[in-house]
Amino acid sequence: MLMMNVAYYPGCTLKTTAKEFDISTKASAKALGINLVELPRWNCCGTVHALAKDDVMHHLAPLRNLLRVEEAQQSGIVDDKKVVALCAMCYNTLKRSNQAYNADSDMAGKVRESMNNEAIVYSGQVEVEHLLETLRTQGWDKVQAHVTKPLKGLKVAPYYGCLLLRPRGVGVDNADNPRIFEDLLKAIGAEVVDFGYKQKCCGSYNTVHMVDVVADLSNRILKQAQEAGAEMVVTACPLCEYNLGNRQTEVVKKHPKFNGIPIVYFTQLMALAFGLGEDETALGLNKPDPRPLLREKGLI
């Protein structure tokens, strides 16, 4: 199989608390002929897009990463001026900063003057892509063609959250009626469960100092997914995964009637459907543990 060498921006969460996202991403992409080359040098994505017009300094982090992509392309380790991100926050920040850099020449000039010690000037030409977009461009039939173990009978609710879809022009799909997760889940043989709260807020960074708020929001989202028939929820955002997954301990404390439900990354389900083992699906790292359900379904 001819491999494409694509620049990969993991972001810090995929290297720390969301290792299962990193591991399953590289493995499932490889199975599809996409060699994700982690950038030799990368820094924090910037975490949150700088919204104020004069806040130039917060653009340095995301744009420096895009400059690294250009360096990687020039040195020949990746094929195109393109970078694939996985974490919804990283994706959103990198893409919006890139758009601002290209749209506002004054801001771009200030950024260039403040870059400090870089060998090249960033051209603005790097394309920021989410892996879901890469897969859609290749065609869902291509994903389907690599499935050796369809996730038959597994009822999965896709959860989008906010940063993957908004704002328009940045999101990977239609913000009101997205289908990219649904299309992927169908391609790997899972049963898609639609539910009304798939774009509702997970509580985001309130998880640091207002766990209470997150417990309420997670309870509402997960309860609705379960009522719609879901046995599992799939996401592309480490913060959503944390709030909907790890925080279930707090959800139960506040809402004793709540029954746990596994949350996994879409790449983990892809890796599973491609017949990869637990080293590559990393399904042992999620909280709560999705493996009892998958065993029950005869999928592992």
């Binding site: 810090c12 290297k15 720390t16 040098r41 990368w42 820094n43 924090c44 910037g46 300094m57 917060h58 340095l60 982090a61 420096r64 403040s114 870059m115 400090n116 010690n117 870089e118």
Partner: protein
């Protein structure tokens, strides 16, 4: 005297103008001008990091950093010493640390403020990728953080320039300590030497030194073996 050594340049030390020979380092030029170093000088060989210095050249907005014992004077250099950089340095027991990103964030939570502006890298007289040291620590990549910071002298220039008030040299030091403790692990030659120290192999030699008077000690120091 050669033609070259007679050439003089003008430097400004703390704003005061001096004419000094062009073939001196900043440190020697300051001594030539009458300054006596009580702080801000150490090995004089570019290894200890004690002589951190900032300077600007006339006509340029750039604020530059250097080690005074390494950097040659240039005409119209405005110089100030930074002999000490105030920094919060944590005490920890290396055995109690978890070798991952959370340890860096617990000990030095301000690293999460890194803007990736690269000012620290620009300030480094050792030409280290200082920002990458901090960034690697942020994601728990101890090996990269340790290796990139291997040549750090803790001179403090990065710390005084960081807009996020991070002390990068402390981050690199923590990374190197965890790297050596948890990634590399115990090494035979160190264990052997520790055993020799404990068994008293060097006691006699040390006792002899302790008994010497100051002039003899000084003479011994001046005539010690030095690596080239």
């Amino acid at each position: 005297m050669t033609e070259n050594s007679k050439k003089m340049v003008t430097i400004y030390v703390m704003g005061k103008k001096h004419a000094v020979p062009a073939d001196l380092t900043i440190m020697k030029a300051m001594e030539y001008a009458g300054h006596q170093f009580k702080r801000g000088a150490g090995c004089r060989g570019g290894f200890c990091g004690a002589c951190a210095t900032i300077y600007r050249k006339k006509g340029s907005y750039k604020l530059l950093g250097a080690l005074a014992c390494q950097k040659m004077v240039e005409d119209d250099m405005y110089i100030a010493q930074i002999p000490f950089s105030p920094a919060e340095k944590k005490s920890y027991k290396i055995d109690d640390l978890k070798p991952d990103a959370s340890t860096f964030l617990e000990q030095y939570p301000e690293i999460a403020r890194c803007l990736a502006c690269n000012t620290c890298t620009k300030a480094c007289p050792q030409d280290l990728q200082v920002m990458d040291i901090v960034q690697a620590a942020l994601r728990g990549d101890i090996t990269t953080s340790a290796k990139l910071s291997f040549d750090c002298l803790s001179c403090g220039l990065c710390a005084v320039r960081c807009p996020a008030e991070i002390v990068p040299y402390n981050i690199g030091q923590l990374a190197r300590r965890m790297y050596s403790k948890y990634t590399v692990g115990p090494t035979e030659h160190v264990e052997q030497r520790v055993k020799e120290v404990k068994e008293g192999k060097f006691d006699e030699e040390l006792d002899k030194l302790k008994a010497l008077d100051k002039p003899t000690l000084k003479k011994l120091y001046d005539t010690r073996d030095m690596e080239a």
